[in-house]
Each structure stands twice: as structure tokens, then as C-alpha cells.
């Protein structure tokens, strides 16, 4: 599928509407990336300013979701899109929902980072958390990249990164559970870290969702709740 195909309608206004929606989704994605970056900085480096910035900026992402929802509703009402246009709009509506949730999760990470500033962070597995953070950041960037280029094959590769993220998450949780068993007094800070890690893991899942929407848009196949093998098959094989 030509990733620019949505700009070849006879109706120029339609092209502009769709292009505008795509551009805004990318802007929203950029904002989400910034939030995630700042939240990780706050969590890993204990940067208070960034933590506060994350908490106070989430409304911008929410506002963009509302705006994009409206734009999509308008296209549905005015254009009655079909085929790839319809799949694009459906994918966008779902993508922005996930982006908004990623924003929420980033906000939670920021909030937990602010909590942790008042706690003893030395015992936390910060190196591992930082590594998970980088992995997740990579996935979000990858998902946005896949969305921008509407590249189904790349989408599978990015989605598969989720396996690695889940493994890292499991390892961190195990570490923290160990820590709690050994040192029951550290419950409050550990819980904060569990929440933050959990949020990061969820961001990974949502990035994977976005990749699945791209596969749906490009191939017309719903690959949610399927194995990676099936997803790869649908994404790379001939159409149908």
C-alpha cells in the first residue's frame, strides 16, 4: 500500500482533511514521546522539574485526542469513507485512544517519580528500569514511525519488541518482589516503582496495539489477539 495513497482522492478537500488528521496524530505522538522522555528522566534521574512538567502537561494530549476524535467523526459524517479510507479512520480513532492512554501512563510514571523523590531510591533497580524505559521509548518511537510510514512489515518488528519489554518487566518485578521479601520496610517506595514499571509495560502494549492498527489499515486484516507468527504472516504475505 502506497503510504501516500490517502492523498489521491478526486476531492482535494478530502485529501486535506485526511492529511490534516495524519499530521495531527503525528504531532500528538511527538507530544506523547516528549512526555514519556520527561517522565523517564524524572524517574531515573530524579529530575523534579521534569516530573512536574509531565504531570501538568498531560491535558494537552487529552485536548488533542478530543480534537482528533471530532475530526474523524466529521470525516465519517461527511465522506462516508470506504475501504482503505475507512480503515485509516478506524485506525486513527483507535491509535489516538492508545496515544492518550500512553500519555496517562507517562503522567503516572511522572507522578510516581515525584513520590520517589521523597523516598530512598538507592535500593531500586534503576539500571534495569532505565533499560526498560529505553526499550519502551524505542517502541513508542517505532510505533509512531510505523504509523507515519504505514509500514506493515516494520509494524511486526516493532510489535515483536514487546516480547523483550515484557521479559524486562518480569525481571524487574521479580527483583522487586525479592527486595520486598528481604526488606519489608521498603514497601512504599517499592510499590511506587512497581506502579511506574507497570505503566511502562502498558505503554509497550499500547505501542504494540498501534502497530496492529497499522497492519489493519494496510492489509485490511485484524491482527489483534493473534500470535506474532500470524501477524507476521498477514503483514508480509500477499494480500489475502
Amino acid at each position: 500500500m502506497d503510504k501516500k495513497s490517502f492523498s489521491q482522492h478526486i476531492s482535494r478537500q478530502y485529501n486535506e482533511d485526511l492529511e490534516h488528521i495524519i499530521t495531527r496524530v503525528m504531532t500528538m505522538g511527538g507530544l506523547v514521546e516528549q512526555q514519556l522522555e520527561a517522565a523517564l528522566d524524572a524517574l531515573v534521574d530524579g529530575d523534579q522539574a521534569k516530573g512536574e512538567q509531565v504531570v501538568t502537561s498531560d491535558y494537552r494530549i487529552n485536548a488533542m485526542e478530543v480534537e482528533l476524535d471530532e475530526a474523524c467523526t466529521n470525516v465519517l459524517a461527511r465522506r462516508q469513507p470506504t475501504a482503505s479510507d475507512l480503515r485509516l479512520i478506524v485506525a486513527v480513532i483507535k491509535t489516538i485512544t492508545d496515544l492518550e492512554r500512553i500519555g496517562d501512563e507517562a503522567e503516572r510514571v511522572g507522578r510516581m517519580a515525584l513520590h520517589l523523590l521523597e523516598e530512598d531510591r538507592r535500593r531500586s533497580p534503576m539500571a534495569e528500569i532505565s533499560a526498560l524505559g529505553e526499550q519502551i521509548k524505542g517502541m513508542v518511537r517505532g510505533a509512531l514511525d510505523v504509523f507515519a510510514r504505514m509500514d506493515a512489515e516494520q509494524a511486526v518488528r516493532v510489535a515483536q519488541e514487546d516480547i523483550k519489554a515484557d521479559a524486562q518487566y518480569d525481571s524487574i518485578i521479580r527483583h522487586l518482589v525479592n527486595d520486598l521479601e528481604n526488606n519489608p520496610k521498603s514497601v512504599p517506595p517499592v510499590l511506587d516503582i512497581v506502579w511506574a514499571t507497570r505503566s511502562l509495560e502498558r505503554i509497550g502494549d499500547r505501542s504494540r496495539n498501534i502497530c496492529e492498527y497499522v497492519v489493519y489499515f494496510v492489509r485490511g486484516k485484524d491482527v489483534r489477539h493473534t500470535s506474532f507468527e500470524q501477524m507476521a504472516e498477514e503483514a508480509t504475505g500477499d494480500r489475502h
Binding site: H9, T82, A83, D166, R239
Partner: protein, 283 residues
């Protein structure tokens, strides 16, 4: 936990995926019964070939929509199904069209009889300039299927009821059909077609001359008629095809580019040309 489902039980995921896959086919009857089918149908207007190797099955008690740009041959094909093209000089046809195993182009087939099995409704409502009653009673009287006054009365009433027009015209059956509103006229034409008790109803853009409300009533009628008749409809209105048809065939330059169930054709067409057409990318 979600992660675990995704990672560990791929077998379970596969079953789920299968279930998702089977959903659309569950909506259709197991093996649809083919009512009419065209095979390798070619048609020429003089030296110009208008239809190329058309192969299309039309299923019983289903609506099959024919879509495509102007001049793509969809109306020409529709008219092949009750041999209306016979009226145009210089048309010649190769290939065949089967109506339940009978080739309607067989030399022994009587066209007049064929048309009582395959009725037709036209783009512009064309009630005869006679009373509503006469519009419907005309053909049954002609074909001898209704002879006595009481038989005809019953037939007129049942046809109008099936066409959803009875309540609106019951008290003025003697007024000219041409005095009804556009949507009513079209439903009268449908009632007129039904009165002959056909098995297949062909509709050539039946709502293109109607306003949206009248269109909606006609579409609703098509939806109801589907239970008893095989309907083939030509339409320029893609949304209309999407709304009323179970199967959709996309015609382009005298060929069928793609046939599929309507859901698939409108969400995920196989062919790029279909995609371009239904999303408005022809230019």
C-alpha cells in the same frame, strides 16, 4: 494477565483468531443457492464490445449490487438478465445466462415469458398513465394470471401491501399513478413488477431520481423483498450498494473487476481499481 495470554498461549490465540475469522461467514447462509448466473458473457453494440467475459452468480433471496463508473457496462449487463437488450438493434451476445439451469438465450426461450420470471424496475419511476389499480392489474390480466375482478382486487391489494404502498393509496386506487410522489411512484412500479409474481427483480438505479427519504423507503422495501425474491440492483450510489446488498460486483470498462460480499468489498477490496473507485480516487 494480558501479557501472559499474548506470550504463552499462542495456541489459544489461534483458536480465538479462527473464531474472529468465521464470524462474517456465519452471517451468510451456509451455501447460497445460485438463482441466476452469467458465464463468459460477451456483448457487442455493433462493433463495439460492451461486456467482456462476464461471470457472475446471483444468489437466491439475496441482493446483488452492480457498481461501477458510468459506461462500465453494469446497466447493459442488467438488461441482459431479462433480455431487454433484444429491443436494441445491432446488439449481439455470446455466452450464456442461466436461470435455474435454463439458458435464457436459448432459441426456444420465449422472451415474453422470461420477463414474467425476471421483472424490472427502472431508474425513473415510469408508472403507466393509468389508475393505480390498472397499473398493477394490467400485467396479470395480460398474462391471464388474474382474471376475475375479485382475483384482481386481491392481487392489487397484496402487491401494494408487499410494496409497502397499500396504506398510502388504499382509498384512492382510481387516481392516476402519475399523480403520486416520486417515491410512491417507484414503489408502485415495484408493486407492478411483483404483481406478475416474478422470481428475480432487476432494478436499474431505482432510487437515483428520489430524494433521501423516498430513497430510504425504497431501500427498506428492497430489504424486505429480499426474503422472497432474488434482487439485482444497479446503483451509482456506493453507500446504497453498501446498505442494501449482500454481494457487490464492481464493473469497469465492461469487465467485472471484483465480486465479493459487500462487507469485504467495502472495507477491504482485493483489487486496487475497486479500492480507487469506492474511495473516490478515479480521475
Amino acid at each position: 494477565m494480558e501479557t501472559e495470554v499474548k506470550n504463552t498461549t499462542s495456541a489459544g490465540a489461534a483458536t480465538m483468531a479462527q473464531k474472529v475469522e468465521t464470524l462474517p461467514s456465519e452471517r451468510q447462509t451456509a451455501t447460497p443457492e445460485v438463482k441466476m448466473s452469467a458465464s463468459d458473457l460477451n456483448l457487442w453494440y455493433g462493433d463495439t464490445q460492451a461486456l467482456h467475459d462476464i461471470n457472475l452468480d446471483m444468489y437466491a433471496r439475496e441482493v446483488t449490487a452492480l457498481i461501477g463508473p458510468s459506461g462500465c457496462g453494469k446497466s447493459t449487463f442488467l438488461r441482459c438478465l431479462n433480455r431487454m437488450n433484444d429491443l436494441i438493434p445491432q446488439v449481439h451476445i455470446k455466452g450464456n445466462v442461466m436461470l435455474e439451469g435454463e439458458d435464457i438465450y436459448d432459441p426456444s426461450v420465449d422472451v415474453v415469458q422470461l420477463r414474467t420470471f425476471v421483472g424490472m424496475v427502472f431508474q425513473k419511476p415510469n408508472p403507466f398513465p393509468k389508475s393505480i389499480y390498472e397499473n398493477i392489474a394490467y400485467a396479470p390480466r395480460l398474462h391471464g394470471t388474474g382474471t376475475s375482478r375479485s382475483e384482481l382486487d386481491d392481487l392489487v391489494e397484496s402487491s401494494l401491501k408487499r410494496a409497502g404502498l397499500w396504506n398510502e393509496v388504499a382509498d384512492r386506487l382510481d387516481t392516476p399513478g402519475t399523480e403520486l410522489s416520486g417515491g410512491q411512484q417507484q414503489r408502485l412500479c415495484i408493486a407492478r413488477a411483483i404483481a406478475v409474481n416474478p422470481e428475480v427483480i432487476l432494478m436499474d438505479e431505482p432510487a437515483s431520481a428520489l430524494d433521501p427519504l423516498a430513497t430510504a423507503t425504497v431501500e427498506e422495501l428492497i430489504h424486505e423483498l429480499k426474503d422472497n425474491y432474488t434482487i439485482v440492483i444497479v446503483t451509482h450510489n456506493l453507500q446504497q450498494a453498501a446498505r442494501v446488498a449482500g454481494y457487490t460486483a464492481f464493473f469497469h470498462m465492461g469487465r467485472i473487476v471484483e465480486v465479493n460480499d459487500t462487507d469485504t468489498l467495502f472495507t477491504n477490496p482485493k483489487e486496487q481499481r475497486t479500492e480507487d473507485y469506492i474511495t473516490g480516487r478515479f480521475g
